[in-house]
Amino acid sequence: MIFEERQVEKNNFSSRAIFLFALVGASFLAVLFQVFALQVSSYTSYELAALNNKNYAIPIQPLRGEILDRKGDAIVRNDPTFDLITQPDLISQPELFLELIKPVIYLSELDEAQYLKKFKEKAFVNKELVLKKNLTAEEIARFNVRSFKFKNAFIGKRHRRISDYPEVFAHVLGYTSRSNNQYDLSMEIPRSHWVDAELTYANGLIQGKTGLEETYNQHLSGTHGTRVYEINSRGRLVKTLEYYPPAKGLNLHTYLDIKAQIVAANALGDRKGAVVAIDLKSGGINVLYSAPTYSINKLSNGMSVDEFQDLIKDPDKPFFNRALQGRYPPASTIKPAIGMFGLTNQLINWREEIDDPGFFILPENGRIYRGWKKGGHNNVNLKKALMVSSNTYFFKLAYQSDMKDLASYFSSLGFGSSVCSDCYDEDSVFIPSPEWKYKNFNVPWFTGDTVNIGVGQGYLVATPMQLANYISILANKGNLPAPALVKGKNQSLDSNKSQEINLSNEDWVKMHDALTAVIESDFGTARSIKNLKDFQVAGKSGTAELVSLDSKEAYLEVRDTELLRDHSIIIAFGPMPNPQYAVSVVIENGESGGAVAGPVAIEVLKSLLNE
C-alpha cells in the first residue's frame, strides 16, 4: 500500500518535473532563437548600429585658395596665427591653471570668464579649448620656454585671411566671416558634428560674404577632410580611427593689378569716387576701386561692434561699392555714344557743321537748353563738338533722335545691364525710355527729356563699371570680350549686340581721332592733363550736374554745399593710336571733369602701361 502510494507519488512528481523542465528547455530554445535572429539574421543592421554608436566623424577645415593678381602676386593670402589651445581633460583645476599661465600669456578678464564658462563641457568630452587667440611673438617665446610646465596646453597653428592691401582691395575682394550654416552636407557628416570641426582658421568655419570671396566661394573653399574618432557612451573622444586630409581650395587668378589699384587709390586720395580699368585685349578688369573704403582684414578677422557701427553709420557709406553700384549721370562722357548713334542712323556726318550760339531752343515750346560756354563755339562739326564738348550740337542731335532707337543703342553699349561677368552685386541700373518713365512717374516722355539725354543729363545714369565697359567697346572699335575679374571667365560679347555697333573703320578712326583731340589738342576740354604723360590718350570728360541751373552765378551759390557740387567724370583709353587699356573715373563732387578726374585716369593708365 505504502509502496504503491510512493510509486504513484513518484510518477506524479516525475511527470510534473519533466513538464516544468520542458518549459525551461523551451525557454532556452526561445532565447537561442532570439540570439540567432539578432546575431545572424540581423547582423548587418546591428553591426552598423554599433559602429554608429562609437564612430564620430568630424570635418577638417581646408585652407581657402589665395586670390592672385594678374602677375601672380597674392592679394589675399592665409596668414599663420598662433593660438594657445588647452586640453581641459588634463586640467583638474581650471582656476589654478589660469593663475599659472597668466604670467606667460596676457589674459583679459573676459578671456578668463569665457574660458571657465566653456571649460566644464569640453573637459567632459575630451575636446580642445582655445584659451587665447592670435598670440604675440613674445607670448609664444615665453610659452615655449616654459612649455614643460604646461603639459595640458600647446600652441596651435591656425590661419587668418589677410590681405596686404586690406583697404585698397576691400570692395573687389570682399570679406569672409564665420557662417552659421557652413555645412558641406555632401560629406555624410551629421550636422550636429560640425560644431566640433577641426579648424584651420582662427575665426572658425568661414565663408566668403561679399566680393570675389563670395562669387568664387566654391572655387576657393576646397574640400573638407574627415577625422573619425572613436567615442564612448558619454561622447568622450577616445582615439582617432580614420583620417582623410582636407584639400586646399584652388587659387583664384584675377586680372587685377596690385600696382595700378594702389595708384588709383592714392590718386583718389580721400575723395569719394570710383575707378575702373579694363584690359582691352582680354576684357579683364585691372582696377576696380571705390572710395571711401574699409579694412577687410578687420572685417574678416573680428571687428569690434563699435567699429562696425561707425562704418555702417558713416554718411560717406564706405561699404557702398561705388564702382559697381554708384549711379552717376554720365554727363558729357555720353557724347561719343550719341555721335556714334547719329553716324549709324545717318542723322549726321563728320563734315556737316551747325551753328552753336551757346544754347539750343526746343522748337516745340521755346525752352532754352544752355551749353557750358557762354556765347557758344560758333560752327561745330562732330569732331569739334566732341573736342570742345558742344552741348548745342548734341542737344540738336538728340532732338532728331527717336528715344526708342537711342535706348536700344545704349543697351548695346552695356547701359541698363550688368556688364561684368563675375562682379559681386553689380547694379544693372536702367535705360530711360518712354515706357520706363510712364511706369515710374506716370507721365509721358517729352522731347525735352531726349534732348537732356543728349548731354548725359536728365534721366540717364550709369555706374563707373558701365562707363568703363562703354569706353572699352569704343576703344576696341565695337568689339570687346565681356569684362571679368577672373581669368578665363570672360564670355564673348553677344553677337547681336556687336552688330549694332558697326561703324565703318573710317568712322572709328575718326572717332578715336576726335577723342584724342579732347586731350591732346590745344582746344580739347581735357587738355590740362596733356602733359602729365608721354603717350597719347583719347577720352572724354564730363561734369555731372546734381542740380539743374541756368547760370554760372546760380551754381556758385549752390557750390557752397559740397554735396551739391558737380561730379567729375572722365573716360579714357590709351596709348593712342593702339589702345591697350581703358579707364573710367568718377569723383563725387569733384567738379570739372577733365582737370579733376583726368589726372587719376592718367596715373592709372601710366601704371598699367609701365609694368
Binding site: 513518484k10 512528481f13 516544468l20 525557454s27 532556452f28 539578432l38 546575431q39 545572424v40 562609437k54
Partner: protein, 362 residues
C-alpha cells in the same frame, strides 16, 4: 560502504560544470569590467569560498535540512525584518543587511529557505494535497513574496514566490486548482497592472514592446543590449574587443547585462556553448531529482533547480529583449557575492539531496 563516515558526497558532473561556468565567468567579468582585476579577484575569492561552502553543505544529510527548515525560514524572515528596520537605503531600496564586514542581500536566503520549508511541510501529505495545505502554503508564499517585494525588489520577490510555487506544483497541486488560479490571474491582471505595479515597472513592460519610443531613456538599456549581441555576429568581436562593452554603451555590464558582453565578444558560438553548459547543469539536476532517495529530496532538488532555472531564463529573456527589464543577475557569472554564495549553497543542498541514499533499516 563500510567506511561510511569517510565518504565524500560529491557529484562530479555538477561540480565540474559549475566550475567551468565560474571560470568562464571570471574571464567575462574581466572584459565586462574594462579589465578591472580587483573586481575579478574579489569574484574569484567568492567563487573559491562558494565551492568550499558547496562541498561542506553537500556533506550534511538531507534530514538536517528537513529538521532545521522551520528555524531556517524564521531566521530568513527575521533577517528581512532587520533589513527593513536597519538596512541602508541604496538607490531607493533596502535590500542589504550588514553582518560585521560582510553585507548581503537578505532575500537570497529566503529563496533557499522557502522551498525547503514547503517541501518539509508537504512531503508527507497524501495525494492529492488538501485545501488546508494549499491555503497554508499559499499564505507562506504570499508573506515571503510581500516581504521581498516591498523592499522594493519585485524581481527577487517573484523568484521567491516561484520557488514556493514550484514546490507546491511538484508536490501534486491539483490541475483544476492550477487552472482556476490561472483564470483568476488573467481576470485580475488589470488590477495587478493598475494597483500593484509602480509606474516605472509599467514603463519597463511598455518599453519591451517598443524600445524605440524612448531610445535615450527607458529604451536605452534594451536597445544597447540588442546592438551588443547583434553586432557580435557568429564568432563575436573577440575578447575585450566589444565596442559596446568597452566604450560603455552597454549598461550594467558586470551584472544584469553580462550576457550581452558574452554575445558581443564571443558571438553566437560562445552563446551556444554557454547555454549548453547551463542546460547540462539543469539536466543533471533533473536526473538527481528523479533519482533522489525520498519525496522530500525530490521536492527540494526540483524546487531549488527550477528556481535557479527561472532566475537564469528571466535574465536571458530580459537581455535579449523577450521580457521587460528586471534586476536579475546571470547565475555564476554576474558580479555579486550574495548571489554567488547563495547559489553555491543551493547546489550544495542539491548535491547533498542527490547523493545521500537511504539505507534500509537493518
Amino acid at each position: 560502504m563500510n567506511n561510511r563516515p569517510s565518504k565524500i558526497y560529491f557529484d562530479p558532473y555538477l561540480f565540474f560544470s559549475l566550475f567551468t561556468l565560474s571560470i568562464f565567468g571570471l574571464f567575462f567579468l574581466y572584459s565586462a569590467s574594462n579589465a578591472d582585476t580587483s573586481i575579478v579577484f574579489k569574484q574569484a575569492v567568492y567563487i573559491f569560498l562558494g565551492f568550499a561552502i558547496m562541498v561542506a553543505v553537500s556533506q550534511a544529510d538531507p534530514d538536517v535540512f528537513r529538521r532545521t527548515s522551520l528555524v531556517f525560514i524564521i531566521f530568513s524572515i527575521l533577517l528581512l525584518g532587520i533589513t527593513f528596520l536597519f538596512g541602508p537605503e541604496i538607490n531607493g531600496a533596502q535590500r542589504w543587511v550588514r553582518l560585521g564586514p560582510f553585507s548581503f542581500q537578505s532575500s537570497e536566503l529566503l529563496k533557499l529557505a522557502l522551498p525547503i520549508f514547503l517541501a518539509n511541510f508537504l512531503f508527507d501529505k497524501r495525494l492529492p494535497i488538501q485545501s488546508r495545505e494549499i491555503v497554508i502554503s499559499l499564505a507562506v508564499i504570499f508573506i515571503a513574496f510581500m516581504l521581498v517585494a516591498r523592499q522594493p525588489d519585485l524581481g527577487t520577490g517573484l523568484i521567491v514566490a516561484l520557488s514556493g510555487l514550484f514546490v507546491l506544483f511538484l508536490s501534486g497541486l491539483s490541475w483544476s486548482f492550477i487552472g482556476g488560479a490561472f483564470i483568476a490571474l488573467i481576470i485580475c491582471s488589470p488590477l495587478i497592472w493598475n494597483v500593484l505595479l509602480q509606474p516605472f515597472q509599467q514603463q519597463r513592460i511598455a518599453t519591451l514592446f517598443n524600445p524605440e519610443s524612448d531610445p535615450f531613456g527607458a529604451g536605452w538599456n534594451i536597445i544597447q543590449s540588442k546592438i551588443a549581441i547583434g553586432s557580435g555576429g557568429i564568432f563575436g568581436k573577440g575578447f575585450g574587443e566589444g565596442s559596446q562593452t568597452q566604450l560603455n554603451f552597454l549598461p550594467e555590464t558586470k551584472t544584469d547585462f553580462i550576457f550581452s558582453v558574452i554575445g558581443e565578444e564571443f558571438g553566437f558560438f560562445g552563446v551556444a556553448i554557454l547555454l549548453s553548459i547551463y542546460f547540462f547543469v539543469l539536466m543533471r539536476c533533473l536526473y538527481l531529482a528523479l533519482n533522489a532517495r525520498d519525496r522530500f529530496c525530490r521536492l527540494v532538488i526540483g524546487g531549488l533547480t527550477l528556481t535557479f532555472a527561472a532566475n537564469l531564463v528571466i535574465n536571458l529573456c530580459m537581455v535579449v529583449g523577450l521580457l521587460p527589464v528586471v534586476g536579475m543577475p546571470l547565475p555564476f557569472i554576474s558580479r555579486g557575492g550574495s548571489s554567488l554564495i547563495s547559489l553555491f549553497f543551493a547546489f550544495g543542498i542539491i548535491t547533498s539531496m542527490g547523493t545521500h541514499k537511504k539505507f534500509l533499516p537493518q
